[in-house]
Amino acid sequence: MQHRSHINFPQTLIHSQVKMAEGDLKLLGTWPSPFVLRIKMVLQQKGLSYEYLEQDLKNKGELLLKHNPIYKKIPILIHGDRSICESLVILQYIDENWSDIGPPLLPADPYERAMARFWAAYIDEKFVGSFWGILKAATEEAKAEKIADSFGVLQQLEGVFKKCSAGTGKGFFGGDTIGFIDVTLGSQLSWIKAVEKISGVKLLDKTKIPLLMEWEKRFLAIDFVKNTLPNVEKVVEYGRLLQATTWKVTPAK
């Protein structure tokens, strides 16, 4: 499959392809959700224009309830009369439906694809369980356990990146351009940093995960990543709010 560097994507080419791809795309989401952020990143990488609709999860609107009656969650991608739910399902839909434009999100090789799916699912499971677990922990003991888990996850991913890039010197899990694992992990970055600030633990430590920290630099340098990831201070504020209201955790000082 022809690769075009996402960074050097010609402006004129994007414009004509946006016209072709126009099929009434709507993305329902909330600004802090990493599951939504990754969709935004990929839509931008593909050069697809879409309408973004911020949702109030405390007061779920008709559109949300109509298009995701099963889970009543975001993100939801509405494409014409189609609704697609679950972020990793949405990503694959975008990749497959617009396979002829932009760089592919999943690799061509079936084994590499299986690995990408496996690690993306792992990242999401661990993010909710371990990283958010740090914020939700009610005791110092529980918090320490989640912190240890989170370090373990990052070590694991350091190893995965090492394997992915071994010998190829490629900058991303996806190779030359960002792929499935990149957006799944990358969309969590603001939250990981917010967890660091709230809990006082340095998770993104270049002495422990040097390859991932280099990857992070490259990832954050991408335009559509920069203009998608929310400001960490805003996420910190939101995280503290969740601790106080939804999770009812009194953070230890």
Partner: protein
């Protein structure tokens, strides 16, 4: 008869519905492989080496490269052996199949497992969950995306049939074992019930799923053990049932073991 190529191995467990999914796909595609039965109470070095993250079955090892997680394995198999495809070709249809596979493993499976591992009020709540989840599938069959289709995959079984089917046969087994529980009421879920009958009638399915009496015997033993473990605390308390399933040496039969 051709000897199974050792370049393709499947680590599984005879009572694991997740293993059956892969075996069924292999049968549909006529793929030869070596099957290795795992004792889940005493996992082999090989399994732990091939699936260090989750330490579960099924694991497919192809040319010494392991793939874990049944739905990921199914997609891998479909992509490598393109005969008799299991996923549809249309991107939207694929997304619908993937969504419902996620639902099956994320909501339905755990709810069924919760029914099996509990009793009393906790079980009643879990049964309600199962009914709710099955009703959602029934609705999709009645008026949604799968309306008028013989199988979720259309005229022949596909990914979602395999995922839902290999698992749904436990529903009747559980109904047998727990006589005061009814998970599938044919009157409340006529289309789901009809689909399940069609699925179970297929030769490939009959050749893949173990005999009902074996499943029944196994289920009875597991249930007895699970309830026995929660005898120290009230059977109704969530912590009792949670710890029962967490410490059970016999694998939870409704999740990847």
């Amino acid at each position: 008869m051709e000897r199974s190529p050792s370049s393709l191995k499947l680590f599984g467990s005879w009572a694991s519905s997740y293993t059956h999914r892969v075996q069924l796909a292999m049968k549909l595609k006529n793929i030869q492989f070596e099957y290795i039965e795992e004792d889940l109470a005493n996992k082999s070095e090989a399994l732990l080496q091939f699936n260090p993250i989750y330490k579960k079955v099924p694991v497919l090892v192809h040319n010494d490269r392991p793939i874990a997680e049944s739905v990921i394995i199914l997609q891998y198999v479909d992509e490598v052996w393109s005969d008799r495809p299991v996923l549809p070709t249309d991107p939207y249809e694929r997304s619908v199949a993937r969504f419902w596979c996620h639902f099956a493993d994320d909501k339905l499976g755990p709810a069924v497992g919760a029914v099996f591992a509990s009793s009393g009020e906790v079980q009643k709540a879990a049964v309600d969950q199962v009914h709710e989840n099955l009703a959602l599938i029934e609705r999709e069959l009645r008026e949604g995306f799968f309306k008028g289709k013989k199988f979720f995959g259309g005229e022949s079984i596909g990914l979602l049939d395999i995922v839902l089917g290999c698992g749904s046969y436990w529903l009747a087994v559980f109904d047998e074992v727990m006589t005061d529980v009814k998970l599938v009421d044919p009157e409340a879920l006529p289309l789901f019930h009809a689909w399940l009958r069609e699925f179970e009638a297929l030769d490939e399915v009959k050749e893949t799923i173990p005999a009902v009496d074996k499943l029944l015997e196994y289920a009875k033993a597991v249930r007895q053990m699970l309830l026995g473990m929660s005898n120290n605390a009230t059977a109704d308390s969530p912590t009792a049932t949670a710890s029962a399933s967490a410490t059970a040496p016999v694998p939870d039969i409704t999740v990847d073991s």
